[in-house]
Subunit: 471 residues, 2 copies
């Protein structure tokens, strides 16, 4: 027998792996007949001038994977192995060019995105401390998968916090923690056995609109007036799930006044299957006056589903959101999701709980609120200084973005193309016009975020924006 050679140089594979690989290849290539008797361990070891142990390990591995079999006191034999019918080689085939990712370097860009936040002022040190506390006190919990809605302890912290800050009254049982508003809404929709008719604001949050459409839910849009969603239109449409952003309409910024809120709640209370989903995505940031209490806090008939997030107050990359379910919907959720494995990292959630309970969360919001308001004022000042009467800013002292109308004959597509060239990240209202016409002759609307831009770059951003629109 002289099947192959062994390379005993340093740096080559372990001897037993070489024997294993050679034999495996010979078997797969059909070089042995089926039931061929392999040399004994001693024979092969002598032939290859290696230790019996190396051969024994190789035989053991081949046995385990089913290449060979053994008959007691007779030796090792080659298994009856079927041949591959595919003519392709297992060697890596060329990866299709169109699927390759080419990340554009974003160096030199400035961003007026409404999505990003300021990550430089996050209290990482305190956050890591909370992680360490969670590790110290909850090792048992980390070995398991948690409750489908998230750990009770964490839901309790959130329930306390949201009651204080948003007037939301709920039990920890009613809270469902999720990895974002999208998956939570998807779960919410799945709890409904009957066919759903959904309505969203227009302009509005495009991702929710697309999500609902994507899971085949009848979804309609409702126009806004200066107080928010038009209740007359809602009444006419008669949806059973109405998605709104009353604290700071996305993207127009409108704060829904109390009268309109009561109108909406009255509409919802007229029928048992009408629900209002309150997406409270950035209500923690309210400048000048106190926060506006949530719609849920006014609800008397358990018809509001409150959705909150830590994406704006902590970091969008943390993916932590929650919803507060009325008892009737919670019951359906429990039935549907008893077997669901919760998707967030328990360690992060426990850290969040410590972060809230220790007061760090409230402290951080307060700090960021001052910081964001300063940037907001600065950006508005610069814009008004540079654009003069060519800009109308919808100056609502809340949230992390505002709407601005600019006089220009350029269309949205051109603006977006030019922005890319000027290396400024901006979002036009086009993205949020879910239905109907979005081009208005003589002016455009931009959704301008001020959370992520550095203060010292604001002038530069405004200059670039000016060039995008007027040069």
């Amino acid at each position: 027998v002289n099947y192959f050679q062994i390379d005993k140089n340093k740096g080559s594979n372990y001897i037993y792996q070489q024997i294993y690989n050679h034999l495996k290849k010979l078997i797969l290539d059909g070089k042995f007949s089926t039931h061929y008797k392999l040399p004994s361990k001693r024979e092969l070891a002598e032939d290859l001038n290696v230790s019996i142990n190396s051969v024994a390990n190789a035989y053991e591995q081949l046995l385990e994977e089913g290449y060979i079999y053994t008959v007691e006191r007779k030796g090792y034999f080659v298994e009856d192995i079927i041949q591959f019918i595919s003519q392709q080689s297992t060697k890596k085939q060329d990866f299709p060019e169109d699927l390759k990712e080419h990340t554009e370097p974003k160096e030199g860009w400035v961003s007026l995105s409404h999505i990003s936040t300021d990550s430089t002022m996050f209290p990482y040190h305190e956050w890591v401390k909370c992680i360490q506390k969670a590790i110290k006190h909850h090792q048992q919990d980390l070995a398991k998968i948690t409750h489908p809605q998230g750990p009770f302890l964490v839901r309790k912290s959130i329930a306390n916090m949201v009651s204080l800050s948003r007037g939301v009254s709920c039990e920890p049982e009613q809270i469902v923690i999720g990895t974002g508003t999208q998956p939570l809404i998807q779960q919410l929709m799945a709890t409904q056995p009957e066919k759903i008719k959904a309505a969203v604001e227009n302009p509005g949050y495009a991702r929710i609109y697309k999500l609902l459409k994507g899971i085949s839910i009848d979804t309609y849009t409702v126009n806004l007036d200066e107080q928010g969603i038009d209740v007359k239109e809602v009444e006419k449409l008669n949806p059973n799930f109405l998605f709104i952003t009353p604290s700071h309409q996305f993207p127009t910024g409108t704060i829904m006044p109390i009268s309109r809120r009561i109108e909406l709640l009255n509409w919802a209370s007229m029928s048992k299957d009408r629900y209002v989903v309150e997406d409270d995505y950035d209500s923690e940031f309210k400048y000048g006056t106190d926060n506006i209490p949530s719609l849920q806090s006014l609800d008397r008939d358990q018809s509001v589903i409150y959705v909150g997030t830590f994406s704006k107050t902590l970091l969008p990359s943390f993916r932590m959101s929650y919803m507060v379910l009325p008892p009737e919907i919670l019951r359906g959720y429990r039935q549907k999701y008893s077997d669901w494995i919760h998707g967030s990292n328990t360690l992060d959630l426990l850290a969040l709980s410590y972060f809230i309970d220790s007061g760090e969360y409230a402290k951080h919001i307060k700090k960021m609120s001052n910081h964001y308001n300063m940037k907001r004022k600065e950006l508005i000042k610069e814009l008004e200084g540079r654009f003069g009467d060519k800009i109308i800013i919808k100056n609502v002292p809340a949230g992390l973005h505002f709407l601005a109308e600019l006089k220009t004959d350029k269309g949205y597509q051109e603006i977006e193309k030019r922005a890319k060239k000027e290396r400024i990240e901006i979002y036009t209202i086009r993205r949020f016009m879910l239905e109907g016409e979005n081009e208005t002759k003589g002016s455009i609307q931009l959704v301008l975020g001020f959370a992520s831009i550095k203060t010292e770059r604001i002038t530069e951003a405004v200059n670039r924006l000016y060039r995008v629109i007027y040069e």
Copy 2:
């Protein structure tokens, strides 16, 4: 005017909040007529004996929320506010008793669960260090939402790791990171425009079976023989998505031999729309011999979708899994999920990347592999010692659980009830028998996990198990 009194005691609310709350209540209760002119700030301040500032702040807040309006140089007026039609009060209603959570204290329990892992030996210190590295180097990334498939950097680390450890050959582009196997499979299914016919192993992983049924996919079960899934049955059924666990069949533990693997791949390569989903849930733990290469590593026709997880190697509570998509499916994924917001915390993923790249991950697996094998041997020894010829253990040196058959006339329901009473967490095969009869006269089968039990509790666990079955 003498509307209300102010409490100036320490510990009561801020003065302005008291004014705001009183006025709000009066307005909501209809105590003012519409367009009623409120006293001027100065008047009210004098009446209440408070500062003008306090009144100004209260008016400002009421204005912001739409309770009052202002007319320049005329003063503040009550808005035309609709009344609530609901007769319910906003006060917290009693939370339904059936929805309250009662967590049973698990003190004194021992667990032979296959789900939990040993969280006491996790290198928390090194993990926190990786988190700190990620914070130091990636603050910009944390301010944004990441790529739908997860950060490229992290996918690169995973691609390298899984190539080395499992022979899986792929580009980082092909990797989709997710918060668990369930949501990944759900996404995978959603990429398919055509009607899917799915098949799963029986007995098998019940959660995937339920998931597929739950999203209305035609799902069938295929029986196993001693080599794993029965290819004759697969051919007859002709599914286009076949879900298997070839490295360590769940729950029977069978390692699929090479010949069966080639048979399956040959079956898949006969038609372009046949895919095999390889759920490699615990293949990192292989005792005695080396790891078994993945099915994907043998695939020549891009028909295997590899699914890996960090639930067993790190912690199940971390919720980190990934799938490797063949180019054709990746193309569909990109179209469907371009707008998807990735669900994992970017900070955790970046920490994972450092954890893998620094070698800590491989080191940890090696350590745990020795540790788990020790516990496995100990549990088997104790079981065989206590049960004698009344137990047959399917002793496959892999994974974190094994199957055991025990002679008894008791049925599964009785066993499960008695286990609860004895405070031992065990899973019977009943849970994993997806179709067909699961009671066999004269014996029962248990899925026994050895990862989470403390070594010094093994004897106690075996004693309790004995009492469950024979007393």
